[in-house]
């Protein structure tokens, strides 16, 4: 039963550290898997929307296409422009990927559950301190989870800025300027859209915010905080530069924007960062506005496996909506983008904050 004196005598801090490391080791590869799957899903879904077939040759339904893409990118030549700033050019993709994975650290992936009391056949490898322990796929539970995500997103701009500047190419530079202007314009609306949710739930911690939406679906903040939800979704799409806000990559004007000069695995890293950011905003929207892992129907339980199904379904739906938007909407013009962000989205978000504040103080929302 007992795996030995050394393992059972672990201090609580060491236990937490081991658990955190295990979570990192599980969540990060899972996200990378979802990323490669998303590249395939996106191409297939877009193709169906345009009466094409999309990649369907590699493996069943073309499911092995991401692997083929990966191998192709791996064997491409790594180019660096002669006039590029070497270190900045190398650091930019790393910065982009690091910030996108850092934001993941405070997100809860699915409901909390209890680890099993016994592992049957493998029971002798199951240390005592893990038996029946509360567990959740959330790497770090910190007091200011939401603000942490916001801070990391704010730092994410630097990957883009550095990439565009280091390449020493006018298209990269213009692309980087556009991207960063777009990102920090819409970041304001994004931040303001959180405020109502924070005021109603009374916490910065994402787990608490999900818990506050228990009960029926009418408790979900996408209903109670409908304007904030709309603002969040639009700003999030702009923040991760998805259509209709994919101006940074407006290929007719800017070749490929800030990552024009990147090839091979560095290009793959930048792509990965963008997809991980998209997954992050979808997970965040699920947790903040769509009730997280709650079923939303009174009587339908949302604990355990069922919670993962509800939670995963909502995230998958939001990811699908992002692809759907790309298949449906044309791209904004740059001045329209800026006008919309500053003159529509931010005022709407600000007015809604005042309404929510009034509601919270006077009517106890």
């Amino acid at each position: 039963m007992n795996p030995g004196p050394t393992l059972s005598a672990l201090s609580p801090a060491a236990q937490e550290l081991i658990l955190a490391a295990v979570k990192v080791a599980l969540i990060i590869p899972a996200l990378q898997g979802v990323f490669s799957l998303m590249t395939w899903i996106e191409r297939r879904v877009l193709a169906f929307m345009q009466f094409r077939l999309g990649p369907n040759r590699t493996g069943p339904f073309g499911l092995l296409q991401p692997i083929a893409d990966g191998i192709k990118l791996f064997f491409k030549e790594e180019l660096m422009p002669a006039a590029a700033n070497k270190w900045a050019f190398l650091a930019a993709p790393v910065l982009a990927v690091t910030t996108s994975f850092l934001a993941v650290a405070v997100l809860p992936f699915g409901p909390p559950f209890k680890l099993p009391q016994t592992l049957w056949v493998l029971d002798r490898f199951w240390p005592d301190w893990l038996r029946g322990r509360d567990f959740q796929f959330q790497i770090a539970t910190i007091d200011v989870g939401l603000l942490f995500i916001f801070a990391i997103t704010a730092l994410g701009v630097y990957g883009v800025v550095l990439a565009g500047w280091a390449a020493n190419n006018k298209f990269s530079m213009l692309g980087a300027l556009r991207s960063s202007a777009q990102m920090f314009s819409y970041e304001i609306a994004l931040g303001l859209s959180f405020v109502g949710v924070i005021m109603i739930s009374g916490s910065f911690q994402i787990g608490d915010i999900v818990a506050a939406q228990a009960g029926g679906f009418w408790n979900w903040y996408c209903i109670k905080q409908f304007p904030a939800f709309i603002v969040y979704f639009i700003a999030a799409a702009a923040e991760v530069a998805r259509t209709p806000f994919d101006l940074p990559e407006g290929e007719t004007e800017l070749v490929a924007g800030f990552h024009t000069e990147y090839s091979s695995m560095r290009f793959a890293l930048i792509q990965m960062a963008e997809y991980i950011n998209m997954i992050t905003v979808s997970v965040l929207a699920t947790n903040l506005f769509l009730g997280g892992w709650h079923s939303g129907i009174p009587g339908v339980p949302s604990e355990g496996l069922l919670g993962f199904v509800f939670w995963g379904g909502k995230v998958a739906f939001l990811l699908f909506v992002f692809i759907w938007l790309r298949g449906t909407l044309p791209r904004f013009r740059y001045d329209q983008l800026m006008h919309f962000g500053w003159k529509t989205l931010i005022p709407v978000a600000a007015v809604w904050i005042m309404i929510t504040a009034t509601g919270v103080t006077l009517w106890g929302w």
Binding site: L147, V161, A176, S180, F184
Partner: protein, 163 residues
């Protein structure tokens, strides 16, 4: 653990600050300043106030420095040009005197303080906001808000003049 983190963050902050003033490419300076600000945020976090830590990154590293970089890139500043006619040698002398003075002050302070662990205090988000909105600080807090708002409106008004 905490102590090791503190020394790492403190060292990084100092090195970043030295790089900011020590080399000539303004873009490098901006990035070094970002490193310094992030290290300071780590120190705030270690002191038990994740709220201030997050604000430090959001406001300084995230918002203000992006604007700095934006302007630097828009103007495409390559290198700081050597500014002639500032009496290099005299300035160097003044600098040496000032550095000696600063080192002396720091040494005096360090010599006369006994290092004790910081007293435990509650710097959680809830406690922070209670302090900020207590009668003690409320007027100062609101006055600062109005000052910032005035600066904001002023900036818009100035920018609008040319358009």
């Amino acid at each position: 653990m905490d102590q090791a983190l503190f020394y790492a963050a403190a060292a990084l902050a100092v090195v970043g600050a030295l790089v900011v003033i020590g080399q000539k490419n303004p873009i490098y300076s901006a990035f070094a300043l970002i490193v310094t600000l992030c290290s300071l945020s780590v120190i705030f976090g270690l002191l038990g106030s994740p709220f201030i830590a997050a604000l430090q990154v959001i406001v300084y590293a995230g918002a203000i420095m992006v604007l700095f970089l934006f302007v630097l890139m828009l103007l495409n500043v390559k290198r700081e040009e050597d500014v002639p006619g500032h009496g290099g040698r005299a300035m160097a002398g003044v600098a040496v005197v000032l550095v000696a003075l600063l080192a002396g002050q720091a040494g005096y302070v360090l010599w006369n303080t006994t290092l004790a662990p910081a007293p435990a205090f509650d710097a959680s988000t809830r406690r922070m906001s209670e302090i900020l909105f207590s009668p003690h600080f409320l007027y100062v807090f609101e006055a600062t808000s109005i000052l910032i708002l005035a600066a904001l409106v002023g900036a818009v008004a100035l920018a609008k003049k040319d358009a």
